[in-house]
Symmetry: C2
Subunit: 136 residues, 2 copies
DNA sequence: GTATTGACTTGGACCTGGTCCATCGTAGGA
DNA sequence: TCCTACGATGGACCAGGTCCAAGTCAATAC
């Protein structure tokens, strides 16, 4: 069984066939599916699952902190199960392919107090853009 | 007249009352309006302007490189007229307020070759998150 | 094993942000 | 001043996402 399912069970998450399938579909590295893609993959395993349930389950996984939402293009949100290890994203400007990346340095430290406008700054998301080998 | 209008005229942009109003509404620092907000403000000056025209004009300004699109929340895109001076954004997690910021360092240099997956990397967007003074 | 119950699921209506298109209007050149 | 290609209009349409009332079921208690 996946780590994700293991953790959810440990947190007392009520297990249903639908939730299991959604969690299984999201398991792995460099996974960045849209809700519709999750629905499509879940449907192959559990044909009667509904769109609303997929949205509900994804929303819960996000509030549990097990999955993060990424919007790289202003269109559909994507769901990234790799929330336990902080990372940023590298996106192909042509085909939209996404890779998880780990830049050096501490971008939070690079924002001087004079550029904080009195905000309590707590995090930063970085989206690198480029062209992937397949599109070059 | 604003710099923006000046530049557009210099580039042979056909000037109409609608385009002028949209460009004027977008003039200034720390401006990050949604298309609907642009429409609302434009409507006070030119009541008969249509939604389609606002979207068309914003799209053109973006392809001309005079305005950049920002999506900070996966909802409506926002339009940032400050495209001629590169910058990043600091967003309040509570109220959504946005400030332009200029971090130190070169985030592009912080992405090692081993983390580039063969991409030709050309740029990076950073979104700092925090709580603004008004919401604290 | 059965009863109970509150949480989960469902499908469909609905909402928001955005795009498209046929038609009308007009800026700017001749 | 006239022409015409480009821009504006509004209304239909689309994608992604949310909401809701009704039905279903996992987990607990007995």
């Amino acid at each position: 069984m996946s780590d994700l399912l293991e953790r959810l069970r440990g947190r007392g998450w009520r297990m249903t066939a639908q939730r299991r399938v959604v969690a299984e579909v999201l398991d792995g590295e460099h996974i960045h599916l849209t809700a519709d893609e999750v629905l499509a993959r879940a449907t192959t395993r559990l044909p009667e699952i509904s769109r609303a349930t997929v949205y509900n389950t994804l929303g819960e996984l996000v509030s549990l902190g097990e999955v993060t939402e990424v919007t790289t293009d202003g269109r559909a949100k994507r769901y990234d199960p790799n929330a336990h290890r902080p990372h940023h994203h590298l996106v192909c400007s042509r085909c939209g392919a996404i890779r998880d990346v780990h830049p050096d340095g501490d971008p939070l430290a690079d924002l001087p107090a004079s550029e904080r406008f009195g905000f309590a700054v707590s995090g930063v998301e970085m989206t690198y853009r480029g062209v992937c080998p397949d599109c070059a």
